[in-house]
Amino acid sequence: MSEQKISEASGPVAAAPVRRDPLALVVRFQSLIGLVVVAIGGIIFSPRRHGEILFLNPDNIANIVRAVSETGIIAIGMTFVIITAGIDLSVGAVLGLSSVVTASMMISGGFGLIPTILAVLVMGIVFGAIQGTISTRFRLEPFIVTLAGLQAARGLALVVSGNQYINISYGEGPGLAPPVFAVLGERLFNNTVPVATLVFVVFAAIATIVLNTTRFGRYVFAVGGNERAARISGVPVSMVKISVYAITGFAAALAGIVHAGQFNFGSANDGMGYELTAIAAVVIGGTSLFGGAGSMVGTVAGTIMLGALANILQLNNITPAMQLLATAAIIVLAAVLQSLVRRREGLGR
């Protein structure tokens, strides 16, 4: 952290550097550029049927954006945390816990749709806030605290579910969930736009506004840029840190609800490894793990890029091994570009 530059502490300035280094510009938009590259590649290498490019088939596009919506929602929350130079490893487990609580509240608890959703979202917020509080109060690395949080959430999910998975069936009466909940697995507007994707897009839009236009957003950048400077200039550092973990908890709970609705199912094992996919999307999106700089649009583009890449590889029947290797290469490339920019800025001063 010691290599952080003071200038970054001044908040949004970091997000909009005065000096336009071309490399910095590339890095800022790296995931958008990457998304465009993958999309062009997808069009070129897409299998065709009767001249139609399968990759651009509306069903296929809907499939891509549906598949990434859960990890996307989580990645948006994760962006806040990573900009403060933190990390949250508990999100996949909180998704599992939320899917289980959602299912059991509606199926065995007999709760309605609104109380269930509110309760699960509040649970996510509280879970995240507790992790944030422990981390700031006892000055613990968020890595450790959220690693423990991961175990705790999986354990709680097993307790709530009684080691079973919970199927969600719909209808009126006890033991059945309100049929409207199933809408999360459907598509709107003439069967084109997956509802899960809508949730993702709306959440992304709100998060972008919060991060880029509010005082809280500026605080998030300030804390990540230089915590001491932020504290001296009156930023409520602890409060900001606790809040960003509450946001990831909220995001994971939201993703858990979407998961339960899409798959009519709650299982303690769900969401395994989602934290790593989300972190990958955030890093590819140009957010620095050192904190202080990052972009919400980048995260969204990074998320969709990973989904589009997986899609085009499968359409061409390329093995899953190649998919992992391609993702690895992209993560390394994104990280290297970032470090180059940091070094150049460092040399420039």
Partner: protein, 322 residues
């Protein structure tokens, strides 16, 4: 007005004709003896050795048929990934969808979408919600309960006729095969009232957890004579624990995987007492695909149960040579 009425009538009668004709129509309209067909297989999780074995057998069986191209997608143990892969297969308009769903309910809508798109769905080893022949074309697989029941009976009659203590290593708790195999074995050993099942522990299908769990069991119950492991991997881990404790325990595996690290070899070497194959159904699935795509079948057997083979010291050497 009259013309409209007439055309409605006409349309109605056409529908009737179409309706009756449909019953005898082939499941896939583009079926042909010498056609080129793509078979999409949506696998639950390639990381499990048993599932890799299924992939290998399917690949081998599909290669035998000149017009068949097999595409395998790995769901990586994630219902979201697997759902999107099924949707990809639908976009590609594969000619037949084979699927081993990672979980039943979550993959049910995706299977319905494939059926609605006119793609026959053959479910391998695991089912989605609904009935074969209606909600999906067919189910091919083994019967976990029956396989474990056979293992239990074998223990009761052959391994422990005089009775004694037995133990069970369960798979991932709350997963369907884990529960079925546990119950099957326990019901099987009931044939011999002198056998007591003194310990049951979950080891999540993996050898390292099995080794730890069985070491602890042997500490608590030094007289365990038979261990039933719900898959071959856990049996391998249990063997390490038994060796470590210096105990002679008769170990039974499940799956009967081939190859140097598999269960058949372990029985042939005398390390385990037996293993019970969990048939992949790969050959049967390709046979059924041939019926649908090449022979234009209008219906197929909705449920095909493939039987287990007991691998014992008597037949293991012969089978491992194969």
């Amino acid at each position: 007005m009259k013309t409209i009425f007439r055309s409605v009538l006409l349309a109605g009668s056409c529908l009737c004709v179409a309706g009756t004709a449909y019953a005898a129509e082939p499941l896939v309209k583009a079926c042909a003896k010498d056609g080129q067909f793509i078979i999409g297989f949506s696998q639950a999780n390639n990381a499990e050795p048993y599932r890799q074995h299924v992939n290998d057998e399917l690949t081998a069986a599909a290669k035998e048929v000149p017009g068949f191209t097999l595409q395998i997608a790995d769901g990586a143990g994630n219902v979201n990934t697997q759902t999107s892969q099924v949707d990809n297969f639908i976009t590609q308009k594969v000619d037949i969808l084979l699927i081993s769903p990672f979980e039943a309910a979550p993959l049910t809508p995706a299977v319905k979408r494939a059926m609605d798109a006119g793609i026959p769905v053959i479910e391998l080893d695991r089912k989605t919600v609904g009935d074969p022949g209606k909600d999906y074309t067919a189910f091919i697989g083994g019967d976990n309960y029956k396989i474990a029941l056979e293992a239990g009976k074998y223990t009761a009659k052959t391994l422990l006729p005089e009775g004694g203590e037995a133990a069970v290593l369960e798979g991932l708790p709350s997963s369907t095969p884990a529960v079925e195999r546990l119950n099957g074995f326990k019901d099987g050993v009931k044939e011999n009232a002198k056998i007591q099942v003194v310990a049951e522990q979950a080891a999540d299908w993996v050898p390292d957890k099995a080794q730890t769990a069985f070491s602890a069991m042997l500490q608590a119950h030094p007289d365990i004579k038979v261990l039933y492991a719900s898959n071959d991997m856990m049996a391998a881990g249990a063997l390490l624990a038994a060796k470590g404790a210096g105990k002679q325990v008769k170990i039974i595996g499940t799956d009967g995987l081939p190859g140097p690290a598999g269960g058949i070899e372990a029985v042939a070497k005398g390390d385990w007492a037996a293993t019970f194959t969990y048939p992949t159904g790969a050959k049967e699935a390709i046979e059924m695909s041939k019926k649908i795509l090449l022979d234009c079948a209008s219906s197929v057997e909705p449920t095909v149960t493939v039987d287990t083979t007991a691998i014992t010291p008597e037949n293991a050497k012969q089978l491992s040579g194969k």
